[in-house]
Symmetry: C2
Subunit: 211 residues, 2 copies
Amino acid sequence: MANALIIGASGQIGKQAVGKLLDAGHHVVAPVRNKDKLSDIEHPHLSVVEQDLEKDFSAHFEGVDTVVFTAGSGGNTGAEKTLLIDLWAARNAVNYAKSAKVPKFIMVSSIGAGDPDAVESPIKPYLVAKHMADEHLIHSGLHYIILRPGTLLNEPGTHLVRTDMPTNKNEAVIPREDVATAIVESVARENNNDVITYLFKGETPIAQVFQ
Amino acid sequence: MANALIIGASGQIGKQAVGKLLDAGHHVVAPVRNKDKLSDIEHPHLSVVEQDLEKDFSAHFEGVDTVVFTAGSGGNTGAEKTLLIDLWAARNAVNYAKSAKVPKFIMVSSIGAGDPDAVESPIKPYLVAKHMADEHLIHSGLHYIILRPGTLLNEPGTHLVRTDMPTNKNEAVIPREDVATAIVESVARENNNDVITYLFKGETPIAQVFQ
């Protein structure tokens, strides 16, 4: 069982990931700005601590096995927060993890972050931030799993995905719950190869993708 | 004499750098969005080309000896443009320079970009973008000169600078013209050591700093 640090635990994906990680027997540390947002989850293996990600949050990395970074805006907050959270807090999390010798870093990235120039979209600034955060992680020397989900849906997960890009753009979608499941499978994954994995609704069990 | 590519040639520093580079006998290529902004400079060694930095601008790097990146907002445009220009266009310029085997890259950065977390300021998002652009250049393998001027002034240059941080914050200033001069000296510099140089009004001739 892992000691997982979840950055962004009160977000829509983060919160589902916390619940599933606890169900799977892991210990979870959840630094959040507003503890009330996690007040409905009580568990002996969950430690919720108050933390502003725009401040130094290095204190939470000691003894952690896996960092999950899923904080951020999804492209809909202002670009200043995109710079300060999606990019800078992610960069700091990578550096803190490196200093604390955390063996694994899971980054929740986004479809489009691999090549922001391929996108003509109002969310391009967001994709630039995600690209640079991913690049910082890739160059850090940490073992990484980068998840690049398609457009996020608020519907129950199917536990079934595909990792190749659908030709029909409308199929480049995935329930948030399945991204949370992918996080849990990434935490449990024993293979130490670094990977960048796209995630869309599909027909392959998530557990199989992260074997 | 160098073939210099100036990204941001119609900006306040860029335009002065173009004039000084031409005066010093260099050839200058200036991709700008609005050619009118450079219509008052005519010179047989100046090539002004229309270019939006949010599009692919790799075409201008062939045969270039030195790239100067001085495009951007100085922290006063919106954060979206900070992401798209100060960060992403800088990142693309570095990658294009690398592909075209350009031997030298001069980045006009900013005081504060070395450690954005040390700053409590509304321009922190801007400093994050500048930090990540600088880091991308540093890790690129290109030979680099990163200039980090203090607060920019619109007054005539003195050609005299200091590179250590003044203890009095009010002295952490520099005329834009002196930054332009520092660019010209950086272009001419024969020493191939990579450097990050802070620049403030001082008492050392700029030419001596870049020997």
